[in-house]
Amino acid sequence: MDFNFTKKQHLLKQTIDEFCEKEIVPYADDIDHEQIFPEKQIKLLSKMGIMGMSIPKEYGGAELDNVSQTIIMEAVSKACASTSVTMGAHTSLTCFPLVAYGTKDQKQRFLPKLASGEYLGAFALTEPNAGSDASNVETTAVKDGDEYIINGSKIFITNGGKADLINIVATTDKSKKHHGISIFTVETKKAKGFEIGKKEDKLGLRGSNTNEIIFKDMRLPKENLVGGIEGMGFKIAMGVFDSGRIGIGVQGVGIAQAAFDKALQYVNEREQFGRKLAKFQAMQFYLADMATRIEAARLLCYKAAFIKDQKKKYAQVAAMAKLYGSEVAMYCSRLSLQIHGGYGFIKDYPLERFYRDAKITEIYEGTSEIMKLVIAANLLGKGF
């Protein structure tokens, strides 16, 4: 048992913390309030090699272990959740399936561009009638010679309106239900029939891009079928989510920590009834509850990452990390706002931003209810 980071992880954490403090935090309020897509921050992250952190060295990536990736996700989320979701949709949802399941040709064609940040990525599964029920995808892919013809649309896609490359989930054989699902890589600037639809106006993550995308007789070379075999899509998507959930869990931890840090500072500044808020036991209990939950959620996330690095089964712990990390984000952003009183409700302070940003962590990449289904299925066994 060893809870220490390696020296390398330690230097990485120090570097990314300093970077976030100087290059992201000062812009986070504007990114949210003005709905500014965090392009500048993503450029800087690319320059440091972070957009390629999940990609093997031979394809120009940094090939970081999962614990290190989790360190980065936590730090960026603490600074600005809009930036971290933009990053995560790329490094986790987009790069991971190509790294884990892509053919050699696909890796060679796409990974170097994703690693350098030349390409921004997205992953598109959700449709109007396929949310939690991912197997109900209605977008179709029909083989036509050396090509596939894709028709359908996707909603709520992170980076959907900005991405250069999108991994889309479509059905190649509707009768086979989830066994008929496949994933295709779309280079958006090259694909005819690819259209950008409605950009969503959201409660939180307001700097990030959440977009509808539409495929009208969109033709893709058959070499863009991820993994090269039809019907692998559902398995790949589930793998993507198992892994991505560590990221969302720790996104919650990052938001919670940001909220907590503000609370700790505020109780030592604000005075009422002639004393600092820190002197009121009710406030102290809030701090203690927040700190304890953050620590517990963080340990779950890092444990999941650690197990994944050990190449052991991690889906169960990852689901727990996501479920609990998002709950802790909600809990801490609410209590920290409460500690700030009326000031917490005002946009001059970041508390209301944390509060709004926290909510989505309970929804995307599998809702809390779906997390509980996953955890329970693991406990009870498949046949239940």
Binding site: K7, K8, H10, L11, L12, Q14, T15, E18, F19, K22, K47, M48, G49, I50, G52, M53, A62, L64
Partner: protein, 259 residues
């Protein structure tokens, strides 16, 4: 062109608390970082084309971390001066030890931070230059020109800046202005842990033992405390003429104006 950058590992004073009772720093749990001006010194050195940049630090084994960081930024080599014989060094012993290592490396230019954020003396750079008989410039904001013979720099003064030219080899101490902040890449961080850090001991330095560590340190710290100074308001009384007179006197006393 061979450049040595001297760097010190310091506690992050932004996060440090002083024990009000004992006046000592509470170092426990405080992260250790590369002294900020030394980071700027390093980045300035790395900006120089085709220079071989050597990071040099004296400190305990943990000081390895700032040298790894230097390698992550792109330093070509890192040397740690680490030996029980160096323990307890004051600025004189620190400077002497560093100067012995620098003698061995034989660089064209030595760049130090102006001041360490913990010790705060700003003595080490100038003392090294004196010990090595080198020309020096302190408070350097900018390296204007550098060739094989000389370096032209701009240094900060109370009223503006001076431009100076120094024959090489020379030593400069710099402020944060000398370079823009930057961050190591993930690739750099990986590389930093694949490379070797050389550790030099007292015996590697051909140093006079009497001038090392506690033996070589004439300074003794008796007590450290945070001086408190209280500001007090003073309400002057009288008619306007008297008030003006009193006020003028006060200005003169405080040397705000001359008589």
């Amino acid at each position: 062109m061979k450049i040595v950058v001297c760097m010190k590992q310091v506690p992050d004073t932004n996060e440090i608390k002083i024990d009000q009772k004992t006046g000592t720093l509470q170092r426990e749990g405080v992260p250790s970082i590369m002294n900020p001006e030394d980071k700027h010194a390093l980045l300035a050195a790395l900006n120089i084309k085709d220079a071989e940049v050597i990071a040099l630090s004296m400190g305990p084994p943990q000081a390895e971390m700032i040298l790894r960081e230097a390698l992550a930024y792109g330093a070509n080599k890192a040397i740690l001066l680490c030996d029980f014989a160096f323990a307890g060094s004051d600025t004189a012993a620190t400077s002497y030890t560093l100067s012995k290592a620098i003698e061995k490396i034989n660089p064209d230019l030595i760049v130090c931070g102006r001041q360490a954020i913990d010790g705060d003396t700003a003595q080490v750079g100038p003392q090294i230059a004196e010990l090595l008989n080198l020309p020096q410039a302190t408070y350097v904001q900018k390296i204007i020109k550098l060739d094989n013979e000389k370096v032209e720099i701009q240094k900060e003064t109370e009223i503006g800046y001076d431009i100076m030219e120094l024959n090489l080899p020379a030593l400069i101490t710099c402020t944060n202005d000398i370079s823009e902040i930057d961050y190591p890449s993930l690739q750099g961080i990986s590389k930093a842990f694949e490379e070797n850090i050389e550790t030099w001991k007292a015996t590697d330095l051909k140093a006079d033992k009497e001038r090392l560590g506690l033996n070589g340190s004439p300074t003794w710290v008796n007590k450290s405390f945070t001086p408190t100074h209280q500001r007090q308001g003073n309400i002057l009384k009288g008619n306007v003429k008297e008030l003006a007179k009193q006020l003028a006197k006060e200005f003169i006393r405080k040397e705000i104006v001359k008589e």
